[in-house]
Symmetry: C2
Subunit: 383 residues, 2 copies
């Protein structure tokens, strides 16, 4: 069996869950008191914090798959996954009080390192097995982005290089609070580039409700519109703002893994390029603003990596045409999107992505192997 690596799989470590339980504003966790057997409720989206809904029904129910690593390992075994590169789930540490940001980042990242070390040691006490012969873990760290100084973030990026199982960082789209085109992030980009650290860019905030026709329209369809459309657009907007503000010109060696096959970036890259070419505000169009110097096509093939979490052949075809199959890596988004009927069965959210990869690379078994695990092993230096 080929090596299978999941680069998109989340955890809320126990310490993080305890912290969420102590909060009353988004994000927070509520334990229904009326039913001791009920799962706790996780309220992480502002749109879910609806006072008209009783607390015991607000948000989504979460079970031990969110914090118990043994459940993650069972899930991996069930779906044939050898390696998971676990990352803190959204909204990461975006909401932490500035003075506590460094402490929480260190606590979470040390916890991730300890979890990986323990699991890997238990699976392979002698350190003699190959990755495909066991279940093992690596991790992406969280950053203290709400810290009072960017230097705190830079310090944590450097410290992560000393933790043996850390293989990158996960980040949302708000940066230091003003988006990823904020010049104040330059020290962070520089630290990521200098330390050759992969940044996993992941959505959380979606789009304003008005984009979907207001809260009434959004509510009618549950989470479909914000999750299916808002999340991917958030990622696309964030990385496009990075491009437009020249981040990839100033830091040409940045490595960024985009969640959900780039949101919609591969599909819209041509339109982005065309709109830049026709923009009168940019110097190239007769205006006075410096537009981006590097083409989005170049960035897609040089700086961007994509997970294969797009649930269909059309998305994968676009991803390959934009970035190449050698930059595409299998993922699951576990523990989100569990089966609603029987949690013991195979997860459709996972099997759909397996099927899409096999359908897209039909007859190319080497490429299937690369996308399922080979690319990740090489790009993330897993061994």
């Amino acid at each position: 069996m080929p090596l299978i690596v999941d680069v998109h799989t989340h955890v809320y470590p126990p310490a993080y869950m305890r912290m969420l339980r102590g909060r009353k504003t988004v994000p927070y966790v509520h334990d229904p008191s009326d039913n001791p057997n009920a799962d706790p409720r996780l309220i992480i989206l502002s749109s879910d914090d609806d006072p008209s809904i009783p607390l015991s029904h607000r948000g989504r129910p979460v079970d031990s798959s969110y914090w118990d690593i043994s459940v993650k390992l069972s899930f991996m075994r069930q779906h044939g996954i050898n390696v998971s590169v676990i990352s803190l789930a959204n909204p990461w540490l975006d909401f932490i009080e500035p003075a506590e940001a460094q402490m929480w980042a260190e606590r979470i990242n040390d916890d991730l390192e300890a979890t990986c070390a323990k699991v890997n040691k238990e699976a392979d006490p002698e350190g003699l097995l190959k990755l495909e012969d066991k279940e093992s873990l690596f991790a992406m760290g969280a950053l203290p982005l709400s810290a009072p100084e960017a230097s705190v973030v830079v310090g944590e990026i450097k410290r992560l290089k000393t933790l043996p199982h850390l293989r990158g960082v996960i980040m949302g789209t708000t940066g230091l609070g003003k988006g990823l085109d904020d010049r104040a992030l330059d020290p962070v980009w520089e630290a990521l580039q200098e330390s050759d650290t992969l940044m996993f860019l992941h959505p959380h905030y979606g789009l304003p409700d008005e984009a979907f026709g207001g809260t009434e329209a959004t509510g009618r369809y549950g989470h479909v519109l914000p999750l299916a459309l808002g999340f991917p657009l958030e990622t696309t907007i964030a990385v496009t703002r990075m491009l437009l503000s020249g981040v990839f010109d100033r830091f040409p060696k940045l490595k960024i893994l985009l969640a959900h096959s780039g949101g919609t970036l591969p599909f819209l890259a041509g339109r982005i390029e065309s709109c830049i070419l026709h923009e009168r505000k940019f110097i190239s169009g007769g205006g006075d603003v410096q537009g981006p110097q590097r083409s989005i096509w170049d960035v897609l093939k040089t700086n961007i990596y994509l997970d294969a979490v797009v649930y269909g052949k059309p998305g994968l075809e676009a991803a390959i045409a934009a970035s190449g199959s050698d930059r595409l890596m299998f993922g699951t988004d576990h523990p989100f999107f569990p089966p609603l009927d029987d949690k013991e069965s195979d997860w459709p959210s996972v099997t759909t992505n397996y099927k899409a990869i096999h359908a897209t690379f039909e007859g190319k078994s080497d490429t299937v192997k690369d996308v399922l695990g080979g690319n990740a092993a090489q790009i993330l230096n897993l061994k």
Copy 2:
């Protein structure tokens, strides 16, 4: 030379321009008085109606390519286009006073019919030539959506079938004011389905500025974010709301041409499908709301047609994988996106799409012919 048909090409007929000149709120046209040689300014996006910018610099300059059909014919000749299926440009008649909606729809549509008839007669007085031997025009009609009753809209849909050069209708995403999942639109969908009328769904309103980080962030990059990302998402949201509300279940024979290769629909279809499957609000997920019965994949291959205005191979690959190359049709978006340096030269916005089609279907000359014109001739019954 193969037949080349442009299914995405806009006009503002002279009567429409006169009406816009009489307005002071969006949409409106302003003629700079300080410079008699300056082009009029077209202000159609709310974000362009910025009081801090002088009127003579607000919006975008427009020239005769927007209203003079002879300029359209020159553009066609220059780019090897034989047939243009012209449609009123955004925002169509969305903003018209209810009592005047029917009058304006009839005026505009009769004007489009007369323009097509005149051009085609002049190009081919005897009616003996083939489409590929001349430049000829067909049109998509505008609908009086602001009329007090949906029956007015239905009446115009029926009347359009009596106009020999009309081949469909163009519509924005607001419908009767509440979006395309509004049940009050059912008579309109029924009339479109019954009369076998293609509906060209086109964006105009984009996304709220906050989606892009507020007006400051948006303004910094001119029109890039709203046009490159906001427009395609608006289309995707609109058609997804149609799906979620069961429009395609109730009207399974609707024919919808989506602008810009579907916005992002082909790329996101799998994620939409997955989010529907995992939605607890829907009956299928244990809730009490009826979710859509038909799969988005089925709708993409049965109800949806896509233009090839996506400026790159990744978008086209996704479009083909989602809907099939037999549902894909060349377009230009003329007169938007003219060259900024020399308007006499070939338009990069057009040549980019030509190149993308040739690159995507390399070695498949029959498919290239179909996408460039054969599909449109058959789907739109052009002869």
